[in-house]
Symmetry: C2
Subunit: 324 residues, 2 copies
């Protein structure tokens, strides 16, 4: 059994050399670039922490953990093209530093490398691991599609938003925990409990993101709050507000959503004042807490000694408690 710190170190040591060949460098350098750019490494850590519950040697399952991180980074490369995002983790995105074609092809090869890493485990339960990985990967694409579809729609319901973030973000966290556990010998039931833990964690995680964007401390969060409001992004907060606001407030919110503000600070302040009137922040925090508690409860049901769960619990709490 390893401690969180040891697992994070293990992941950091190996992620930058995730098995990509040196040449052709035009194909593999962008993959190395985004993997070296950092990130919280939550997915590989959740994978190994879940394996940790069932084995003394979670490091055996490092390739599964790396597969998850490489897959996640593949989605970032392609999503950044689709979102026209110029910056990620404080650095130019792949398509910005190179070009769109490079972003497409390097992303493709990263997805294939994720499968190669999975297959390299030679785990007896490889077919089961792949079934979960395949369905998850498809759902992640479906989530991204819904996210893009939502941009064209003005009638997105809160429930649809939860479904979208479940597919776009949460299922991969569930997949990490499920595969880590299964690879390490967990029974199906415990693997499913950990899947649910990851799923619920992902939803609370995404709502936290929306909250931080609106209410985060600029110094801790690393960017000015209100970015989502300026971009009229359909966040949990905005959709909750659209469902709760009445009369003129609702009309005004819909007007603001279609406007390109000349005074951004004023727009942010006005939207936040509507949020305040309808207690939107509290509603989001409640929903976030609901899913967080569901995650903790499902973890509680995993049939291993409570003492074994301390490290994983600590990781989850730190993710939930983050301000960045």
């Amino acid at each position: 059994m390893l401690q969180v710190k040891q697992i994070v170190t293990l992941v950091e040591q190996h992620i930058q050399d995730a098995g990509f060949p040196a040449e052709p460098s035009g194909l593999y350098d962008p993959a190395r670039y985004i993997l070296a750019a950092g990130g919280k490494r939550i997915r590989p850590c959740l994978t190994l922490m879940s394996a940790n519950l069932f084995t003394e040697h979670p490091e055996t399952h490092l390739p599964v953990a790396l597969a998850m991180e490489v897959f996640h980074n593949f989605t970032l490369v392609h999503d950044d093209i689709m979102d026209n995002a110029p910056v990620r983790r404080g650095m130019p995105t792949v398509h910005e530093k190179w070009n769109t074609h490079t972003g497409i092809l390097s992303g493709d090869v990263m997805m294939i490398q994720a499968y190669r890493l999975m297959c390299s485990t030679k785990n007896v339960r490889l077919p089961e691991l792949l079934d979960m990985f395949n369905i998850t990967a498809m759902q992640v694409c479906e989530g991204q599609q819904s996210d893009m579809d939502f941009e064209q729609r003005n009638d997105v319901h809160l429930q649809e938003y939860i479904e979208m973030i479940t597919f776009k973000t949460s299922v991969l966290l569930g997949c990490c925990m499920y595969c880590g556990a299964l690879a390490a010998g967990a029974n199906q039931k415990d693997a499913e409990r950990l899947y649910k833990t990851g799923l619920e964690l992902g939803v609370s995680f995404q709502i936290k993101d929306d909250l931080l964007d609106a209410y985060g401390n600029e110094k801790e969060f690393g960017k000015k709050p209100g970015g989502d409001i300026i971009q009229n992004k359909k966040t949990y907060l905005l959709l909750e507000a659209l469902e709760k606001a009445q009369g003129q407030d609702k009309t005004r919110l819909m007007e603001l959503m279609q406007s390109k503000p000349t005074d951004e600070t004023a727009k942010i302040a006005e939207v936040l004042s509507i949020f305040e009137k309808y207690h939107i922040r509290e509603a989001a925090e409640n929903t976030m807490a609901f899913h967080y508690n569901a995650a903790i409860q499902s973890l509680g049901e995993v049939d291993v000694p409570e003492s074994a769960k301390v490290e994983l619990h600590q990781l989850i709490t730190s993710v939930f408690g983050r301000n960045y």
Copy 2:
């Protein structure tokens, strides 16, 4: 054992419903669209014809065959974006009919679906099949990268071109034959012989493509010959000519390669006259025949009765003899 015609029918019946869910249609309709657009279905046919050598029931391995066709079509969707190609198989390309973002994401989900189809076989040799599929998929990306790199270079050697087309095209044909055979119970040696058959076939196939573009009959080939010459594409013919042409001919060829002609017909005629002077067509036909014969020889070494190979032989001959 099935006949070529039965196998083609089987593939056509199933390829258009390759297991994609109905929704979200924005994601899956483009996948169905390109799969319905036709093509020669060479890859799934080679897969099943190879299985056919080792089993009475090649249809059992249909998911492996469909995986190959879905993977191939994924590469077409992404390559068409990178090549800015507006038309494929006489129809608008996916990114042209929808948009680039749709092309990226639908392509992604097609690649995942290819893996899902592979995994759905529950074949005892799945890990071996996946090892081959993974390495092939990476090589296909490397081939596409080289192809794009070549566009920026004026010093591409014929040998590099053969390597590029081997990765971009041939390895997948080899993979089809290898996986079809292995799934159906072939031993490693025979699977490798069939891999080599596919590899050599792919190279001769690509050189044939280059020849048809320069010398094809417009009615049979479906497009005006000379397209590659107008676009200064580094084909086998052009690279062979650049290696063989002397003095003024070489200088003129390099001038022509950098020109945007006002008179396209005159440019084509001039390039073809240089080809003729240096017997480029014959050289290409010889190289094509060399690889075709290597394919046939490797097939000959497969340890099954010659009578069992008749159908596969016929398929290969028809591919080689095509004028379209």
